[in-house]
């Protein structure tokens, strides 16, 4: 036990030591950006003293084996960017929403079934990436759609079947990614997200698009709309084959509005 340095040769231990060295160095030079990518970390306990580095603004822990994010993450009060991509996280602590400066949260490729209670209280969140998890609409807390600061929402590769009409409350939203879910219907309220300029809905079971989409700025060269791999209704599929601009022009027409209303009469 006393001959500690010898254990450096042990493979797992060498990675651990590297993580510790990163922390020590960060403490010495007060480095606000912490990179701990692919360090074989399986728990925050392997990062002693991390939570005392209150000056940290970015913490990147991608490609590790972390299962639990402790509530003490909230002590990193200056954290703006937290990247936990490709770990084994099953749930997020409520404390994460008390990080007042957190702007970018990437928890893509984890095992999340739910975002945890009160998640929507995050006061500054601008970019949220929850791609490739096990989320469905039941896993979103009641206040999820109240995050008015959100400008990009990545929810691809999950188990969503519905998107709440409350989507329309995300007034700053510029990017919405809901590809590869089981979504049947995009709510008309999407028309309230007036700044939307990227919409990725590939690989769902969408037949119709709400006419309100036409009022958004999605048909220009500065926008992205992705609809592939959906069982689109024939009139939409025909226009889509001609290009996004044609599609959006068609959706604007009264003919389409009538078609859409007829198709959704039973729904409303």
């Amino acid at each position: 036990m006393d001959s500690a340095p010898v254990s450096c040769n042990f493979v797992g231990g060498s990675k651990m030591t590297k993580a510790k060295r990163v922390l020590e160095e960060a403490r010495e030079i007060r480095n606000p950006e912490l990179d701990l990518v692919e360090k074989g970390i399986s728990a925050f306990e392997e990062l002693p003293g991390l939570f005392s580095l209150e000056f940290v603004t970015r913490l990147t822990l991608s490609h590790n084996k972390i299962k639990v994010v402790p509530s003490s993450i909230a002590t990193l009060v200056n954290l703006e960017i937290l990247t936990l991509f490709n770990n084994q996280i099953e749930e997020l602590p409520t404390a994460i929403s008390s990080l007042a400066k957190l702007r970018i949260l990437n928890v893509g490729m984890n095992r999340l079934r739910s975002l945890g209670r009160g998640f929507g209280a995050s006061p500054s969140l601008e970019v949220l990436d929850v791609s490739h998890n096990k989320l469905s609409e039941e896993g979103l807390p009641g206040n999820f759609w109240m995050m008015e600061t959100l400008r990009a929402l990545y929810m691809g590769d999950n188990y969503f079947e519905n998107i709440s009409p409350e989507l329309g409350r995300l007034k700053s939203l510029q990017i919405l990614v809901i590809r590869n879910n089981n979504i049947t219907y995009i709510p008309r309220e999407i028309g309230n997200c007036t700044r939307l300029r990227e919409l990725h809905v590939q690989g769902n079971v969408i037949q119709w698009l709400p006419p309100e989409i036409a009022s958004l700025d999605l048909g220009t060269s500065r926008s992205i709309i992705r609809l592939e791999d959906n069982p689109l209704a024939p009139p939409i599929a025909d226009q889509w084959a001609l290009g996004p601009h044609h599609l959006l022009e068609y959706i604007k027409t009264d003919t389409y509005k009538t078609l859409y209303n007829n198709a959704h009469r039973s729904r409303r």
Partner: protein, 376 residues
């Protein structure tokens, strides 16, 4: 509807106010009228007078002191002042209560000249034009929608109702375009150009100052021709001459307050502006509209910009979206939900996901070739 009425002001002769000195005859005067006593009777009760009794003499009529009282309250007249109406005498208070008209404006009793108009009575001073408060008693008035107006105000109201102005000089309705000058409106033909002397039309321009004129010189009128020759800059927004500070931008002149952001319409007031396709924008809206906010810091990009995947980054913020490691603008990266992913991270993605992403990428590329987006 307005009704034109002829002047109808009554001069009231309702009563005359009197203060007559009545004489009380005392003992020492008694003998002089001794012989007449038998023939004298009180005007009220018709009885004669006792010897040594006081007699009130008013206007040749005689009274017992106790009979010389107000016909309404039977009390003596204060200060001996009484009002006579229909042969009866009243104290001031009762006379007012019974017979005197009240003013429709101030509510006080009217003594003297009474103006009867608009179904009410008025003191001459209180009967005024509803708009300009001019006294109307001697000018006459016009009834307009329940208001009494003087002739001038009535003409104004009438003109306004027709959407027209009244000339400030001749008070006539202006049928054509009015000429605005020193805050009033006029028929243009009342004026001549200050430079060439030609009779003006509504195109004439009012000029506050021009080179060589002192700041407190009065405004002058010029015909359009002379005005154009004076070289006063015209605002590119409101098309009116600029007489204060001139902003020159986008090849035009502007009033300071009219040079505004094409998006939020707030004046720049000397702040930096950005030009795009002949329009000017404030810093925030230029970047919001033309996309130069960094995807990471959401701030206006100062310095080198990396543009890719429909987004922009500060050069030092351009990084792999999975591991946050910086990417050089030249380095190869993969696209994942229109975000950049470095090769190392991409190779860690499950095989199934990589296959799908590859397929999606091909579809999008195909789409881009088969249907180019129209570029307005």
């Amino acid at each position: 509807m307005e009704r034109q009425l002829s002047l109808h002001i009554e001069e009231s002769s309702l009563f005359s106010r009197r203060k007559k000195s009545y004489t009380t005859r005392h003992e020492d005067q008694w003998e002089n009228i001794n012989l007449a006593l038998g023939t004298m009777l009180c005007s009220r009760c018709g009885e004669g007078f006792e010897e040594q009794e006081k007699i009130v003499n008013s206007n040749g009529e005689l009274w017992h002191p106790q009979c010389f009282v107000c016909a309404q309250c039977f009390r003596p007249f204060p200060d001996g002042t009484f009002y006579e109406f229909d042969g009866r005498k009243y104290c001031e208070h009762d006379f007012h209560v019974l017979f005197a008209p009240c003013c429709g404006r101030c509510g006080e009793f009217i003594i003297g000249r009474v103006i009867k108009a608009m179904n009410a009575s008025w003191h001459p001073k209180c009967f005024q034009c509803n708009m300009c408060s001019k006294e109307l008693a001697d000018l006459g008035f016009i009834k307009n929608q329940g208001r009494a107006l003087c002739h001038d105000c009535n003409a104004k109201v009438k003109a306004a109702g027709l959407g027209k102005y009244v000339c400030h000089k001749c008070h006539g309705v202006i049928d054509d375009k009015p000429l605005r000058f020193r805050g009033e409106v006029y028929h243009p033909y009342h004026f001549n150009c200050s430079a060439c002397g030609i009779e003006l039309n509504s195109d004439a321009r009012e000029v506050k100052s021009r080179p060589g004129y002192a700041a407190n010189d009065m405004n002058q009128l010029y015909c359009l021709r002379c005005h154009d020759k004076m070289g006063i800059p015209i605002c590119g927004a409101c098309r009116r001459p600029i007489e204060e500070r001139v902003v020159t931008a986008l090849g035009k002149h502007w009033h300071v307050e009219h040079f505004v952001c094409a998006k939020c319409e707030k004046p720049f007031l000397g702040h930096r502006h950005y030009e795009k396709k002949g329009l000017a924008y404030c810093e925030t809206h230029y970047h919001q509209l033309f996309g130069n906010l960094c995807f990471i810091c959401n701030q206006v990009i100062i310095g080198d910009v990396v543009t890719a995947l429909n987004k922009a980054w500060c050069e030092h913020h351009f990084a792999c979206s999975v591991c946050d490691q910086r990417l050089s603008p030249k380095s190869k990266f993969y696209e994942f939900d229109s975000k950049p992913v470095c090769k190392k991270c991409y190779e860690k993605f499950p095989v199934e996901l990589r296959k799908r992403l590859k397929k999606m990428h091909e579809q999008a590329a195909q789409k881009a070739i088969s249907s180019p987006t129209p570029n307005p």
